[in-house]
Every structure is written in structure tokens, then in C-alpha cells.
């Protein structure tokens, strides 16, 4: 066996590692103080350095492609509007030896127990304050200490079920806790995506390195959440603040991965101390709620009265132990930066032991002794808001140098604002390799580690979320702006069991009935169907118009003018090639789809995004006429791609029904308007041919009626023919079929107004002769179709 130094691929003098020089006085994950490769990295580096540059590029692209195909994004808030950003993956994983990881895990489990004990005291008897172990002022002034939750006991006895710790390795080689995440920790879903992407890039070496899988952690937590239900009929739901939240993608992803219902505050209601979700089948109980929303927003009656995303009565339901909340409301107080000053001593009090992993040295400036300590050595301190809950590198840093304060200024500031301030030792992080322009470069690293309470107690996710600084300085500032995410591999000595989300069979197989659909999700799916169809309708009209323009030019003017009312009704100005009205319909489709990303496949989402991007690009350069006609044909093909993905892959249950009803509805509306305008007796020459073209029925018409186009043949084919998937009749057939299969909302009685209106309309159209379907009759039918949408909304969608 070769030793590290004699292995030519591990020589650090050449190639991509030539410039790898960690900063002085810090630890580096890859190499030790003498510049020797650490043992845990040998297998991985041997593999990485053996790859040709081409091969390496190809593999990294594989990871990026995966993230792009999955639509992984996060929302970034800056000046002006927020934007969705593609996920910034640092391809090189962070490697940690199993032995080290075990020590680290034990320490974090201890810390999780400490936080649980502290939480129970802060929302229970407040013994720690009474005994002088915590200053009352620090808690009373804390906006995250929620008084309405004091005395509210969690139903299952535990306040905390899911935690994360941000840790970093100090210059002495030991790990330090930088921040406690207890409010609604994010990142575990992104860690999963990082794992999939990274393991695609380095599949062979990943398979051979005994890296434990992440699925077991999620499976056990999922099972535990299920087990926390008291009512086996009730569901587990994930509460998200909504699509504008920066980590919404992750909420949708985890909901889909674990099979839980994703809900927003307005989907929920409280009745008789139970939490219920509004579904298209009526109100259904939620027994366990995994909260991804900050506590204060959860209940506008008892918590933040300004909240528009909460559920009135949530606190009442918790007070009556009507559900289990993960984590208990008020857990954000544990993130308070100044609390870190007290945790080492509290560990002795609450656990009877010293902390196994220290947190960064912290002084709450509310005490005279602490202020003296800070003033004695302010150079190595960072002063910030005592009640801040962010990571040490979030928010304004007030290092003495950065703030420009003199020693006397600082003394004065501490004297007047002491209780609002906290001083922390400036963070020095270890560095880890990142690929920068094809070369490995040391970059600062902090690590987020996740803990979940499972049936066996706290379990640590074997891996984590690595945050890689954007610049080489091993301090907090490098982490502030930008930076990348990296996967974390725990490298074990022995092969690891392969685990997946699908548990081994323990009982006879029973097919599970799919759950009901939240009304808001149904509403978004219905409108997604409508907007996609509206976009298609606009495209077909536009294409027909541009073909006429290209073929006939000025001579086509009367015909084009005849189309104007249709474009007006669609809020579209057809004179430009790809007009804003079309982009707007696509934008609305994406916005609706964004609310239900947990409900349809990443492929379909990607197809929709791609369609939108292409349309936006074309809008800037396509000119009217032939150019636009061809562009619109390309867009129509892309749209058909989306429809195909939905049609072929979506489970035929409630969600699909509402999407389908939406499409049928919009298509019926569009076709009715087109017929009323273009098949009108007074429509100009050529309008009927145009109508057949817009109705995508040229071939069928030719086959059925030879070459003769008359009003009657057009009406028959596009309004009444039940075999033509473009006809009004076909849409009403489809709607009637789906409506029949919707849950009987019994509170509305049967047959409901909706069912009655649908049947009547369907019968009327089915029994009409083409010659009786005058323009006026078509408009009347269209009005009745529009009415169905209101009835549907009233019965199911709110």
C-alpha cells in the first residue's frame, strides 16, 4: 500500500492543488500544519486528482444539471424585488472522519437536551431566574419570549423536536457552537439536495467511502411525527409562511419527500380546540404541525396581531393540547445570542455536566463584571444586539475596528446600552477546499448539523449543511455576503447499510387512500389549468394573426381587425410578436404553480419555467409576421411538453381533477368567445378558416366536411362535436366527468347548485342543433360557463 507522500497523485506541488495554502494560525480540513494531507481525505483526493480536467468538468456539470433539473432554488432578498436564485453548490464535499463525528454528535445531543431543559424552565416555573442563574431582564426584554405561551405544556411532554446547530472549528482544532437554531431550522432539505448532486458528481468514490445515507434520519423523524398523532385519522402537516419565504422551496421539497401536507396559515382553522385544514372534502383534523414559520406569526389573536399569515386560535388549541407543534411556539428565544453567555453554567445546573462542546465565548453586557471584561480586551470582540437571533455572521458586525469607536466611546455605549448588547469573541473558522477557477483553494467553513427527536431519542443527521465562505479570510465576514453550500460526508471505516424512505414491510400490504386536498392547493391547481390554457389560447390566436400578416400583408387588415375584440378581452396587444399579455398569462401560471410545487413533478415545473424563459427571450427580439408565427409555434410545442408531463405523470386524484377542470373551463370560455366573434354571420371573409385554424381542427374539418367551410360545419365541429378535443362540448363533457368525481361536499347538499348548473348546461349544449347556435346563444352559453367557476369556487375553493 502506498503512503500519502509517495502517492504521485497526492503531491501538492502541481496541478489543481498548486496554490493550496491555508491562512496562518487556522486549521485546515484538508491538510495538517505540515501541509500533509489528512487521512480522511486520501481516497477522495486520489480520485479527484486522477480525473482529467475534461472529465472533472463533466462530472461537476452533472451535479449542476441535477440541481437545475430539480428546480432547486432559494429566494434572495436584496434591494428592490426578491428573486429566485439557483442553488450555489460548492462541489467539493466536506469530509469528516466517523470517529470525530461521533464525539461531535454526542456533544450536540447534550446541547439539545440542555435547550429542552432551558425551554421547559423559561415557559414553566422560571426556576433559573428565581435562583439568579439567568437575569430576569434578559428574558423579559426578549421579543422571542412569548408570554402567552408561559404555562402552556406541550402535549407530548417535549418542547423541541427538531434543532440545528451552526458549528465551526477553531484554531485549536476543536469544534465550537456558533449559533443555536431552534425556531424553525432550515437547511435539512437543501442538505439532501446537496447530497444527491454531489454524489452524482463523485458517484464511484462516494460509493466506496462508506458514507452513511441521510434517508434513515428523515425516515425516523417522519415516523416519529406520525407517531405523535393522537388521532390516527388526523394528518401531519408542514406550516409554511408561503411562496415568498426565502426557503419555501425547501418546505415544498420536504413535504413532498416525507409525504406530509404543506399548508399555509389561512388553510387552517381552529374549532373546539382542534386544528383543522380546509380541504375540498371539508374540514379535516391536523394533529401534528411541523412549523416552518416564526412563532410570533402563528396566531394573530394571541401573538403578533399584525400577522396576516397566521391562524386565529392556534395558541388556544395548543393550550388545550389539541395538537403537537414542532417546535413549540416560543422556541425562538433559545436562539438569543446573549443566552450563550449563560449556557455553560446552565449545563451544570440543568444537566449536571460541563458542555462537551463549548460555544463561542460570549459576554452579556448587562452586568458590570462582563462590561469590565469586554473593555479589558475589546480588540478581539464583536459587539452586537443582545437579542439578535441570527448567525454570528448575519447582521451588522460592530467589531471595535469596524465601528470606529474609541475605547471611551465603547465604555460609554456599554454603560448606557449594556443590557441590549452582547460581546462575542471574533470567530476564526477552519478552511476547507473549494474549487475556484479550476483550482482547489482554502475557504472558511461553518457547518450546520441537524438533530431530530425520534422514537430512540435525539438523532443526529449523519452529514449536514456546509457553508463555504466566498473569500479566503477565515473570519465571519467571509460568510456574510454570498458563499456556497457544500455536502458533508462522514467517512466510516466499515460499509454503511443502505437505507431508504421506504421502510421494510412489517405488516400485510394495504393500499393507502390518498388524503384530501387543501382548498388553497385546489384553487391554485384550478387556476394553473386556466392560465396555462389561456396562454395557449393567446398563442393560437397570435400565430394565426401573424400568419395572415405574413401571407397577405395589408390585404389581411379587415380580418385582423375582426380579431381585435378577442385580443382586447385577453388584455393582449397583438401588434408586437410576443406581447406582454402572453407573458403575463404565463407569469400567472407560474405563480399558481409555485404554490403547489409539492404536488407536481420537478420535470413539469422545469418545463413551465423553460417555456416562460423562452417566451421572455423571444419577446425582446421577435418581429411581427413570419418570424413571430414561427416563434409562437415553438412556444406552443413547449407548452404541449408541459401539458404532456402533467397528463402522463400526474396521479389521477383530486389535484389533477381541479387542474383538469381549470383547463376545460378556460378552453370552453376561449372557444366560445372565438366562435362568437369569428363565426359570426357578419365576420369578414376568411374568418371561418381562421377559426378552424385557431381551433386546431383544419385536418379534421377537411376530412369530415371536404373543403367547404360554412358557419354550420364550423359550429358543429368546434362547439358541438363530442369527439373533437377542442370543442366546447368536449370541455363540458370533461368538466362534468371530473365534477362527478369530486367529494360530495355534504354541507352543500346534493345535488349541489354546481352539479345542477353543470347538468343543465351540458344538456342544453348536447341537445342544440348547429343552426340554432347563434352568436347570441353562444354568448349566453359562455356566461353560464363563467358562472360554473364561481359555483366551483364557492363549493370547494375557499
Amino acid at each position: 500500500m502506498q503512503t500519502a507522500s509517495s502517492d504521485p497523485t497526492l503531491t501538492f506541488a502541481t496541478g489543481m492543488t498548486r496554490d493550496y495554502r491555508p491562512p496562518a494560525a487556522t486549521q485546515d480540513e484538508l491538510v495538517d500544519a505540515r501541509g500533509e494531507l489528512r487521512p480522511v481525505w486520501r481516497g477522495f483526493m486520489r480520485h479527484l486528482l486522477a480525473l482529467s480536467e475534461d472529465e472533472r468538468t463533466k462530472r461537476l456539470a452533472r451535479a449542476d444539471q441535477y440541481l437545475m433539473d430539480s428546480g432547486v432554488f432559494y429566494r434572495q432578498y436584496g434591494t428592490g424585488q426578491s428573486v429566485e436564485r439557483p442553488w450555489p453548490l460548492s462541489h467539493i464535499p466536506v469530509l469528516i472522519a466517523e470517529g470525530e463525528w461521533q464525539g461531535l454528535s454526542a456533544a450536540l445531543i447534550q446541547r439539545a437536551d440542555l435547550l429542552e431543559g432551558l425551554m421547559a424552565d423559561l415557559y414553566g416555573e422560571n426556576r433559573l431566574v428565581a435562583e439568579g442563574k439567568l437575569p430576569a431582564g434578559l428574558i423579559a426584554a426578549n421579543p422571542e419570549w412569548l408570554r402567552p405561551m408561559v404555562g402552556v405544556r406541550p402535549r407530548d411532554g417535549h418542547y423541541l423536536h427538531f434543532l440545528a446547530f451552526e458549528i465551526g472549528r477553531g484554531p485549536d482544532g476543536n469544534w465550537w457552537v456558533l449559533a443555536d437554531r431552534a425556531q424553525a431550522p432550515s437547511g435539512a432539505g437543501y442538505a439532501l439536495e446537496n447530497r444527491v448532486a454531489t454524489s452524482r458528481a463523485f458517484s464511484e468514490v462516494y460509493a466506496g467511502m462508506n458514507v452513511p445515507r441521510l434517508a434513515g434520519f428523515f425516515r425516523d423523524f417522519r415516523d416519529q411525527l406520525q407517531a405523535l398523532r393522537h388521532d390516527p385519522q388526523a394528518r401531519v402537516a408542514i406550516l409554511t409562511p408561503g411562496t415568498m419565504n426565502e426557503t419555501y422551496y425547501e418546505h415544498a421539497y420536504i413535504a413532498r419527500y416525507l409525504g406530509f401536507t404543506l399548508v399555509e396559515g389561512e388553510d387552517l382553522t381552529v374549532a373546539g380546540d382542534r386544528l383543522l385544514v380546509r380541504t375540498v372534502s371539508g374540514l379535516r383534523p391536523v394533529d401534528v404541525l411541523w412549523r416552518r414559520m416564526d412563532s410570533g406569526f402563528a396566531d394573530p389573536v394571541e401573538l403578533n396581531q399584525m400577522s396576516r399569515i397566521g391562524t386565529p386560535g392556534m395558541v388556544s388549541a395548543l393550550r388545550a393540547q389539541g395538537l403537537t407543534m414542532v417546535n413549540a411556539l416560543g422556541s425562538g428565544v433559545l436562539e438569543t445570542r446573549a443566552l450563550m453567555a449563560f449556557l455553560p453554567k446552565l449545563a451544570q445546573d440543568l444537566l449536571g455536566a460541563d458542555l462537551m462542546m463549548p460555544n463561542i465565548a460570549t459576554w452579556w453586557c448587562g452586568g458590570a463584571g462582563e462590561r469590565q471584561a469586554v473593555l479589558a480586551d475589546p480588540g478581539r470582540m464583536v459587539i452586537s444586539d443582545a437579542f439578535a437571533t441570527g448567525l454570528p455572521y448575519d447582521g451588522p458586525l460592530q467589531g471595535l475596528a469596524a465601528s470606529g469607536l474609541s475605547h471611551a466611546d465603547l465604555a460609554a455605549k456599554l454603560a448606557t446600552e449594556g443590557p441590549q448588547l452582547v460581546a462575542q469573541e471574533a470567530v476564526t473558522l477552519s478552511t476547507t477546499p473549494a474549487l475556484v477557477e479550476g483550482r482547489l483553494q482554502p475557504r472558511p467553513l461553518s457547518l450546520r448539523v441537524f438533530l431530530a427527536r425520534t422514537a430512540q431519542g435525539w438523532q443526529v443527521m449523519p452529514g449536514g449543511f456546509g457553508r463555504i465562505g466566498a473569500s479566503p479570510e477565515p473570519n465571519a465576514i467571509a460568510m456574510q455576503n454570498g458563499g456556497n453550500a457544500a455536502d458533508v460526508w462522514i467517512v466510516a471505516d466499515k460499509p454503511q447499510p443502505v437505507v431508504s424512505m421506504v421502510a421494510p414491510p412489517t405488516a400485510a400490504y394495504r393500499r393507502a387512500t390518498p388524503g384530501s386536498l387543501p382548498s388553497r392547493a385546489a384553487d391554485n391547481l384550478f387556476w394553473l389549468g386556466r392560465y396555462v390554457e389561456r396562454a395557449e389560447g393567446i398563442m393560437r390566436l397570435l400565430r394565426a394573426r401573424n400568419i395572415r400578416l405574413a401571407e397577405a400583408g395589408e390585404a389581411a387588415t379587415p380580418l385582423l381587425a375582426a380579431m381585435d375584440p378577442l385580443f382586447d378581452a385577453l388584455d393582449t396587444k397583438p401588434e408586437t410578436g410576443v406581447p406582454a399579455g402572453l407573458l403575463s398569462a404565463l407569469g400567472l401560471a407560474i405563480s399558481s404553480a409555485g404554490h403547489v410545487r409539492d404536488r407536481f413533478s420537478p420535470d413539469a415545473w422545469q418545463a413551465l419555467i423553460d417555456l416562460n424563459k423562452t417566451a421572455a427571450r423571444m419577446a425582446t427580439k421577435v418581429s411581427p409576421g413570419d418570424d413571430a408565427a414561427r416563434a409562437l409555434s415553438a412556444l406552443l410545442r413547449k407548452l404541449t411538453g408541459f401539458s404532456g408531463l402533467v397528463h402522463e405523470n400526474m396521479y389521477r386524484f383530486l389535484g389533477w381533477r381541479f387542474l383538469t377542470i381549470g383547463r376545460h373551463h378556460e378552453r370552453a370560455m376561449g372557444m366560445a368567445a372565438n366562435l362568437a366573434v369569428l363565426a359570426d354571420a357578419k365576420a369578414p371573409e376568411g374568418a371561418l378558416d381562421l377559426m378552424i385554424e385557431v381551433g386546431d381542427s383544419v385536418m379534421t374539418h377537411r376530412r369530415r366536411f371536404s373543403l367547404q367551410t360554412s358557419r354550420v360545419t364550423v359550429i358543429d365541429l368546434l362547439a358541438l362535436d363530442e369527439m373533437n378535443p377542442r370543442s366546447m362540448r368536449y370541455q363540458l363533457d370533461g368538466m362534468a366527468e371530473q365534477l362527478r368525481l369530486l367529494p360530495e361536499a355534504d354541507e352543500y347538499g346534493m345535488p349541489s347548485d354546481l352539479t345542477r348548473a353543470m347538468l343543465r348546461l351540458h344538456t342544453d349544449l348536447a341537445t342544440t342543433r348547429p343552426e340554432d347556435l347563434t352568436t347570441q346563444a353562444i354568448w349566453a352559453l359562455r356566461g353560464r360557463i363563467a358562472g360554473l367557476s364561481d359555483l366551483l369556487t364557492g363549493a370547494y375553493l375557499r
Binding site: V129, A136, A141, P148, T269, P300
Partner: protein, 294 residues
Amino acid sequence: MLYQIRLVIDYVFARPTGAGRQQFRILPASLPGCQTVASETVTFSPQPLERQVFDDFYGTRVVQAVMPPGLTKLTVTMKASVIRRAAPPEFDMSARLPDLPDQIALIRDLGPEAPHHFLPPSPRLLPSAAIAAFARSATATATTARAATEALGRALHAEMTFDATATEVDTPPEAAFVGRHGVCQDFAQIMIAGLRSLGIPAAYVAGYLRTLPPPGKPRLEGADAMHAWVRAWTGAESGWVEYDPTNACWVAEDHIVVGYGRDYGDVAPVIGMLRLDGNQKGSHKVDIRPETEG
């Protein structure tokens, strides 16, 4: 003094409302030694779907009601008979202002009476430089916490004009202060902000004020609605005292306490859908009758 108190809250909605959850903080408090509730009832018309009474963090009793959907009118009636005994503090045993921080720090308690809740900024009472400057100059000669409380209350009463039309329920205290006009809620919140800026813990008190003036005394302003005043923590020995800046007096038998909070938001009479909806007309009518005890 025994009082019969009657509060009628009427709402009329422009259009039928959806089901909604409300909390009412309108019941008189039971305060050992100074306020006893002999009887009380709260009635709703129409009947709520659900109804509970519980104590909030500060000990204020909360009536919670879930109203049925389709509401166009709502009437809530509270009746209570309350025995109130209170007298203004006699001797100034309060802490010297410079001693106050150390006395506060020694209180190892987070119960509802602890001063710690009432010194930091609260959701509706953020620090205001203008109010702080006013408080400093109004209390320049006061050496004790109680003297400062009285001096600030009097100064505010002299400076501000009671005006039921100048402010809304959500007007920030600083805006009311700049305009020098407001109602009891504004007087109280401005005074609280001022006291906190001086390092004196101060709470918002919601309650009722008797309507009929005793013979020979002037009628008190703010009497036709619920009232609000200030509670200040003046040191370990003298504890809490209550002052009414709207009427420039120490609180005594005419004031009947409903509850305490950090600011209006903690003890608002109505919280929930009724306030959020906006498209409604509401009125509060208060009637307080003193009776001979016996």
C-alpha cells in the same frame, strides 16, 4: 364603594362576516385588598359557537368567543358589581431614581407583577427621543420615582389636550405627543414611554372610570368609555403606584381595573376579527352606578 358596571359593545357589519375568533378583555379584575368582584355576566347576541374564559399572562381575564359566519350585527353586554377600595399613596417611600436600576436587578421574578416586563420597549411603545426629552425636563427636580411619576403625569396633563377626534386606536404615542392631542390611551402610553425613558418600569392599565361625579367635584373626562391610566414601579419598598394622567390624579376609588399590560395591545378590550375586518361600525357604551354598600 360598590359599583354596578354595565358595558355594551355594539357592532354592525357592512356585509356578513366569516366565522371569527374574538378575545374580550372587559371583565373587572379581582385584586386582593382593593377590588372584589361580587358578580359578573357577559352575554352575546347572537350566541357564539364557542366560548371560554381564561386568565392571560398578566392575570387579566379573557373572554374568548368564536362567532358563527354570516354575522351582520353583534352585541356584547358585560354586567358586574364590584367593590372597590383604594386610596392614593400617603408617604413617599419610593426609591431614589439612581437606586432604581439596582433594585430592579435584584428582583428575581418573571411573574406578572415583576417590574422587568415593563421597562424595555414593547410592541406599541418604542423609545421616543421627543417623549424622553419631555420627561427629563418635566422631572428635573424630582428625586424619587414617585415624585417623578406625579411630576410627569401633571406635566402631560398640562401639555396635552383631551380630544376624542385627534387620534385613532393605532396612532403611535409619539405622533399623539407631537400633536399634543389625544384620548386616555394616548395620555397613558405617552406617560409610560416617558417613565421608561427615566428608568421607571411602567405598565398600561385598562379599566373603567365612574360616570357620576361625587357632589361638588368636577366631572372627570374620558368617562363615557373605557378608561386607561398608568402603573409605575417605584422601588422595592413602595412597589406599584397608579396615576391617571388624563385627569392628573392618583388612582383611587373612581377607577376600576380590568387589567395590566406593557401597552394597549396587551389589554385591548377587543382583539380578533372584529378589529381586522375594518368594514364595520362599532360603539362602546359604559355605565357605572355607585351604590351604598350593605
